[in-house]
Structures are given as C-alpha cells and as structure tokens.
Symmetry: C2
Subunit: 366 residues, 2 copies
C-alpha cells in the first residue's frame, strides 16, 4: 500500500481546511495512513496516535510498549514516545512544530479527552478543531490494490467455511463450531476474526447478533453461521444459513425468499443509486411476501480495514453509491421462537453493477 500517497492526499485536505496538523486516533485510520498495526484495547487504551502535519512531517506518538513494533512497521514516520502521557508531549511538541490550529477526530476522541486537550492547548494558544470522517472519506473508495486484498480475505473466509462445513457432523455445539472456525482462520494466516463468529442453532438464530453458546446443534432446524476474518488488514464478512438434517417446508420457503431478496439487492446495486434504493430492492421482496416486520436491520454495510464502515445500505441513507465502494448484501428474516435466516455476500460497487466476491454456494439456491 502506498502510504506516502495517502499522507499527501491528507496534507492537501489539511491545506483546504487551514489546519496545521491533525491527530489521528481511530485505529483503522492510523493503519490506513501509516501501516502501523498496533491494536487498541478499547478506546481508552490506545497503542498510539498519528500526528500528521500539513507541511509534511508525520509522527507516530506511542508508549514504550509499542516502540519496536511502530519502528518496524512504519517508514517515513517519526516514532516518538510519551512517557508522561500524550497531553504532556503535545504541549511540548506542537509549539516547537509551529502548530497553531490542530484538528482531532471528534468521532473517535472521548469527550473527556477533548476537554483535557482543549485545556492543555489553550495554554499554548493552540486552537482545536473537531473533524469527522476526513480519513473515512478517503477509505470508503478502495483502489484496486485494496480490492485485491479484500478478495483474498473473502476467499480465505470461504475456504475456512467450506472446511468446517465439510466436517460439520463432528461438532456438537455452537461453540465447538465457532472454535473450529476461528482456529482454522488463524491456522491459515488470518490476523484474527473480523468480529466474534456467530453460530446460532434453531431459535437462537432469531437474534441477529447471537453469541455462540454450549447449546447443542439442533437437527432439522435452521442454523446460521456469520463469520469473517482479517487478512493483511482487510476484512471479510459472510453469512450462510442451512439445516443440519432435513429442511422443513417453512424453512425452505423462507430461505428461498431471503435468497430472492439477496439476488434482487445484488442486481440493484451500481454506482449512482442511493443507499436507500439499494436497500429497497431487497426489502420490497421480503415486504411483499408479508415478512417485512421480520427484517429489522439494514441491507448491508461497507467493509475494508474495518468490518463495519461506510457506506451503510440503509433505508435512511440517501447518499449515492460510488464505484470502488465495498458493501455486504445481507437480508434476513428473524422469527422469535422459531429462528432466523440470513444470507450475506460482499463485493464491490462498479459503474455498471455489483461485482460479487463470493464464490461459495453452499445451500444458497435450495
């Protein structure tokens, strides 16, 4: 990935916004601009902050624990430690660098941190300017290198699914399936799952974000597996739904309905249409069959360095899709007490349509 090119684009944005520098605290934004993979343990425990100057120098401010990693993973970025904390270092560093106006990521900075930062910098006569989505606006359109990386991630995710599916009878409980999946992911070189793997049997499938438990896999009942991994930084996300044993008529009917909605969603996506229109392509199929109230979430979301990022394929978003956006298409029907069915593919928005990355077809067209 060409980090210098990304930083140069950011510098132009800073120029337009008349900011001398910006602090980048959001982990995927930090990685996008520098290649630094340091993981935060939640927002309150950062593994570092990028300080990008309009005039060109870029610093990675971090602590002792991450020094070697930061130096190893970045180039053209000056690694600097804050033994007395970030605020103290900024109070010394920014005046030296001639920074008079500093941007920060309002959407990834704690309210309490912003208050402290403001107090610290006002002493130095440095103005703070909240920014939102500056880097995300760059990240939302993927270049072909990124698209290739995401395809690799999808391919590996499918390989893992197919391996576990082929020996499915070996697993007795939801958690055993989830462990098998996550173990295979890491064995094949994934950094980690891109989210906690969902394995939901029978009625558990009615919870779209079910947590796999010790519940035994139920014969002849709906089973949902929603899984993704991170490979070289880029995420994948896929849901398959099937029945261990024999599908009931009701299952088959609902599964075909969800699949029909998914195909309609994929057929409707192309550059230039609004997110809400894409959502409607799939939703209207389910609504017309009388199951609209059982499809309570959006059609899909963007995927990249983060497993959930822009754009949102939501009925509430009027934003237009653009070529190079990566999205999931994942309609679902959730019936309390019975279970759920969700089918999820992902791919890239092209000028003339949707390029689906998934090649796995397990149980898709029953």
């Amino acid at each position: 990935m060409d980090y210098q090119k990304r930083l140069a684009r950011l510098q132009k944005k800073l120029d337009r916004k008349k900011l001398d520098a910006i602090l980048i605290s959001q982990p995927e934004n930090r990685r996008y601009l520098s290649g630094y993979t340091g993981g935060d343990h939640g927002i309150a425990e950062t593994s570092g902050v990028l300080l990008a100057l309009r005039k060109g120098r870029t610093f990675l401010l971090t602590d002792f624990r991450f020094k070697l990693q930061a130096e190893k993973e970045t180039s053209g970025v000056e690694v600097m430690l804050y033994p007395k904390g970030l605020l103290e270092l900024l109070g010394r560093l920014l005046p030296d660098l001639g920074v008079r106006k500093l941007g920060f990521e309002s959407h990834y900075t704690l309210h309490s941190t912003a208050v402290e930062l403001k107090a610290q910098l006002s002493q130095k006569k440095i103005a703070l300017s909240p920014q939102s989505g500056l880097i995300e606006a760059m990240r939302i359109i993927k270049d072909e290198d990124e698209i290739a990386a995401i395809k690799q991630s999808v391919r590996l995710n499918e390989k893992v699914f197919e391996e576990v599916y082929s020996s499915f009878a070996d697993y007795k409980s939801e958690i055993e399936v989830a462990i098998a999946i996550e173990t295979a992911m890491r064995r094949y070189g994934a950094e980690r799952p891109s989210f906690a793997t969902i394995v939901a049997t029978g009625p558990n499938g009615a919870l779209p974000h079910a947590v796999p438990g010790v519940d035994k896999i139920q014969k002849n009942k709906s089973l949902t597996i929603d899984m993704g991994l991170i490979l070289d930084g880029y995420c994948s996300d896929m849901t398959r739904n099937f029945v261990p044993g024999k599908a009931t008529k009701r299952y088959t009917k609902l599964h075909r309905l969800v699949r029909k909605a998914q195909l309609a969603g994929m057929a409707g996506i192309r550059a230039g249409i609004r997110s809400c229109e894409a959502d409607k392509c799939a939703r209207s199929v389910i609504a017309e069959a009388g199951y609209g109230k059982y499809f309570g979430h959006s059609l899909g979301h963007g995927v990249g360095l983060a497993v959930h990022e822009g754009p949102s394929l939501s009925g509430r978003s009027k934003k237009k899709l653009k070529a190079g956006m990566i999205v999931t298409v994942e309609p679902g029907i959730y019936i309390p007490g019975w279970g759920g069915i969700r089918l999820e593919n992902m791919g890239v928005v092209r000028e003339d349509g949707f390029e689906n990355f998934n090649t796995n077809s397990t149980w898709l067209d029953i």
Copy 2:
C-alpha cells in the same frame, strides 16, 4: 450478583449530584449494573445504553438486534428500542420522564456524540452534565461474590496454561501456542480471552505487547506467555516466562531478578499504602541491580469485569490502595535484540497484605 443493590447505590449517587438520570454507555459499567452482556463492536457501535433514573426506573435502550438478549439477561430493567436512533428516542423519552438534568459518561462518550446530544437536549431544555468514573468508583472495590468469581477465572486460566504447557513440545510456532490456549479457554467455558494472548519467543519478548506470529518457537531462548480469560464476566490475567530447552546463565539471572521484584511487590502491597509505593517495592529491586531502564511499564493494574481497570500500580499514582481491590503484580525486563522476562500474578488487596490468587508455579522459582 445483586444488581438491584448496585442500582440503589447509583441512585444515591445521583441524588447527591442532583442528577435526575444518567446514561451509562461503558460496556462493563452497563453489565455491572444490569447483567446485560451485550458486546460493543468498538465504541462507535454500541449494543445499548443504560438509562438509570434517580427515582428508580432503569431502562436499557438498544436496537432490534439485541432485544431478545436484553430481555433474557436483565430483570427489573425496562428494555426499549430505538429504531430511529438513540438521540431521537431520548428526545421523546426524557421529557416524559421529567428528566431536567442528565449525566453522561464523559470518559466513554465520543466528543461528536456529546455535541449531538447537547444540541438535541437543549431543544427540550434538558441540561447535560459530564460525569467520569462514577460506576468505576463502585467497581474498583470488589465484594466477596466478585472475589470468588475472579478466583474461578484465575483458576481456569491456570488450568488452561498447565494443559498447554504439558504438551508444549507439540507446538512449533507462537501462533500455534496461542490458538491452543484460546481454544482450550473456550472449550472449558470461558466467554473469550480477556485480551489477545501473547506468545513471544526469543527477541520478540522484548515487545511487552508482542503479537503472536508464525515465528518458530526458539530452543533455549526466553519464551513469554501472557494470557487471560473471561469467565462469567470476570477477567483473569497471568504471565509466565520459561525456556523451551536449557536456560542460559543470563536468562536465569534475569528471571531470578524479576521474580525477586515480584515477591517484593506482593510483600509490599496492603490496604493503605500508595500505588507508587507498591510500584517502588518491586521497581527498586530491578533498579538496584542496574536494569531499571529495561522495566518501562507500571507494576500492575486492576482487574475485574475489565482486564484493565483501576487501580493502576504506577509510579505516578499517589492514590492509596484499599481492601477489596484486585491487582496484578507484573514486573518485567525487556532487552531489545535479546528478549524479555515478565512474571505476573494477581490477587486481592487485604487490610494486612496481598492475597495472591495464583497457585501455578511453573518455572517461577528456578
């Protein structure tokens, strides 16, 4: 756990602070007060917010995806959905409930969210009051039920370590060891690891937060395993250091030094001493041997529902330790190019000393 008792304590705090209600967004705080285990996918994707009223009612505000889970896991808490987003719901709900002054968690609310919330509520003439650490101040002292739960978590963590250690020769790379550990954790009923398991061979051990990779386990070199799990919500955290093969004289000397520092740290801890004094008990052992600059982090941290919480056993903290606090004691020496040695136990601060929870003694006293 007695959630009603905890809520009653919170209501008294709200009374003293003249707040009509408070929004609890921090995931462990939410769980501490309600039992709701819903997991956030980062701070920007919440699985719900608790709204606790001074006068007694408590709501869990969440979305469609988490409804069944929220209802199943909580009692005495009213689950309410926000199909049009949290801000819209608050704008309707708070005036109906007579809330005129609302607290929010400044240390777990994004700056951008606070700005939006303020704009929304000022229309309704509701004042916003940033709060910090209200629930953490309750969580920092554990009752005996919690202490028992944490002991169970420590015990299971040691069981997993001992199992993997006993078959250590089976694993070729860092990542294979990490997978074996995390698989065993989940097989034995842990919710998940409490942090990403660290397995660092040879020079990798010089990074206190090393990420396990495909690096082969090096014979006769230092190996660090730092691992923890979550059992029934409560975390454990333990580090062991050993040599697959034969330890060098240098390893043995440094290992004994770190162990001596750990024993001095554990011996020094009791209710009433300052955090910096506890840190110094261990640090001075390492400093006097001439390795002070290789011990770059604090002596330890609190553990509970979060694996990192208060108190911090830091040289910069003058706060006094209190009975019922749970802390780790984890001195380390990190030498770039050579590797690192860290030994970590955890236990509870008692009036007259430190009750160490760890019974595992693998390679501790070599």
